[in-house]
């Protein structure tokens, strides 16, 4: 489409912005000068000139900056930068504390904004937004006991767990159960060598975000419960499920214990391998067979075998080290792409989506705000309602 005369004039106008604001915008998106310049297709010295106030950008350039940094355009016009909002606690260690990427920082902001919107809805009509029904746990407790207590609350027997048959179905069912406790869950594709997920508490509302780039549904289930444990501990933050950080280790043990109850694991091993002396050096195929029967990730199973003493000390690190090597994501063929509606529900969770629809149906928000929160146009809402069942 050709630009109109006004649009062209608009794009060519110099804007008396504060360079410090441009720098603030770059920094809150985790970009250094060189990577930001590459993103904007200018030289680092040109970008520095804008940020230092030597040169004034054109409106068109600011619009490009807003799009590339994924930041509100009018924020670039502010007279002064805003205070930098504290990021969630960083518990990562597995690949070192890699600088958080733009995608991750935007995802954290997206989840924060969603919780803020739900707080607004709750202030207008309290009954629309469920409050989290969460117990508490402390690091002094035994993660095995905490997991047994929580599993009981979820009311999932081993028979029910096995009846889900695939990890994909198990991921959907476990996620529903967590959402029934009033916790918003998100699945967003983020850099795999950066984090497995994060959790947030904000104004009495709780959210879990799982990295949707994790290779298996089993790994995503593990992250769901790992982050659930962060919420129980009231020690939320950014996770990579390393075993070096004591909070991460506790949450790992919790997730593995909840998904693979000890007694059931012992029975499964007897049925598969017969009587064996423990600790036993389980092979990769053993781990894979056992993880399949509990619909969990191999990593979760390896950890569980070690923590229960059924495998020797150091087994988890030995087994999982080769699995840590990042590999290219599998290509998705166009024929296997799910519908946009299903993709949005997967990303935002059923609780988020259903709460937004209820809010618009009960006129707590309008259709535009709802479409912003769901990311689909209002005329698609009936299809979303149908997909939610």
């Amino acid at each position: 489409m050709l630009a109109t005369g006004n649009q062209e004039r608009d794009a060519m106008a110099e804007v008396p912005v504060n360079g410090k604001v441009l720098r603030w915008a770059r920094e809150i998106r985790g970009l250094d000068l060189n990577s930001a310049a590459t993103l904007l297709d200018v030289s680092p010295s040109e970008l520095y000139a804008y940020e230092s106030g030597e040169k004034k950008p054109l409106v068109g350039f600011l619009r490009t900056m807003s799009a590339k940094y994924q930041i509100n355009f009018t924020s670039l016009l502010m007279p002064e930068p805003l205070p930098v909002e504290k990021l969630p606690t960083d518990h990562r260690n597995r690949f070192g504390k890699k600088k958080l990427s733009l995608d991750t920082l935007v995802a954290i902001e997206e989840v924060r904004e969603a919780l803020d919107a739900f707080k607004d809805i709750s202030d207008a009509k309290r009954s629309i937004v469920p409050r989290p029904k969460l117990g508490r746990a402390t690091l002094k407790e035994d993660p095995e006991e905490v997991a047994a207590r929580e599993r009981k609350k979820f009311g999932v027997s081993l028979e029910l767990q096995k009846s889900w048959r695939t990890q994909g179905k198990a991921r959907i069912e476990w996620r529903k159960l967590i959402e029934q406790r009033g916790i918003f869950t998100y699945m967003i594709a983020l850099p795999l060598d950066e984090l497995s997920g994060f959790s947030l508490f904000r104004d009495g509302l709780a959210a879990i975000c799982v990295n949707d780039r994790e290779f298996t549904d089993g790994a995503k289930i593990f992250t769901l419960f790992h982050e659930y444990c962060h919420l129980l501990l009231r020690k939320t933050g950014i996770s990579d499920e390393n075993n070096k950080n004591h909070v991460e280790r506790f949450c790992n043990q919790f997730a593995a214990s909840l998904l693979i109850p000890k007694g059931h694991l012992a029975n499964a091993i007897s049925a598969y391998l017969g009587d064996i002396d423990t600790p036993h050096e389980f092979s990769d195929p053993d781990v894979k067979h056992l993880s399949k029967s509990f619909l969990v990730s191999n990593r979760a199973m390896a950890l569980r075998l070690q923590e229960t003493g059924l495998a020797p000390s150091g087994f988890y690190e030995r087994r999982t080290a080769p699995w840590d090597v990042p590999s290219e994501p599998r290509p998705i063929s166009s024929t296997s792409q799910p519908s946009p509606v299903r993709m949005r529900i997967k990303r935002l969770g059923r609780l988020h989506t259903a709460t937004v629809l209820e809010a618009v149906n009960r006129k707590a928000i309008n259709s535009f705000d709802a479409s912003q929160l769901i990311g689909l146009r209002p005329e698609i809402f009936p299809k979303i309602e149908a997909a939610l069942g």
Binding site: V15, N72, L82, E110, F368, E379
Partner: protein
Amino acid sequence: MKRPRSLPLFRSTEPDVFLFDTSAWLSIDFLPNRDEVWATVRRLIESGRLFTCQQVVTELRDDPIYETRIKPFEKALLAGDRSNDMEHLMAVGRITHDFPAMSKARGAKTPADQYVVALAKEEGYVVVADETTNKRKNRKIPGVCEQLKIRCITLKEFVAQAKREDSSA
């Protein structure tokens, strides 16, 4: 052209000019007397007493009311818009800075709210926003307008005022 502000002792005798936010447009069809309200809106647009801003129109583009209710009057509705005016843009930046929660200053999207508030403040317009007043005053247009001493009314209040004006005319 700026409208004269009312002086402390003397109220302006000029009729109010209304600036509609997205929420107001989207609420009209939920009113029982919606046909009557649309007729009032149309009359006020034609008499140059009802405007909106470009960003609100952009937000409404995906809604069915755009084609039927907005597009035919778009030029008249945007006669008061100042989106291409640098002074106005910087004013929008100031509102974004002073009310980051309403403006979603750290977010990826650019809402229309800060444009509406800045335009109303500069031009002395009355904001029509059908948003529930939030307990957290900085998050929604009515709370921000209150702090900036901009008159902000709901759609129902707008309808009542238009009726009063009609009956006294």
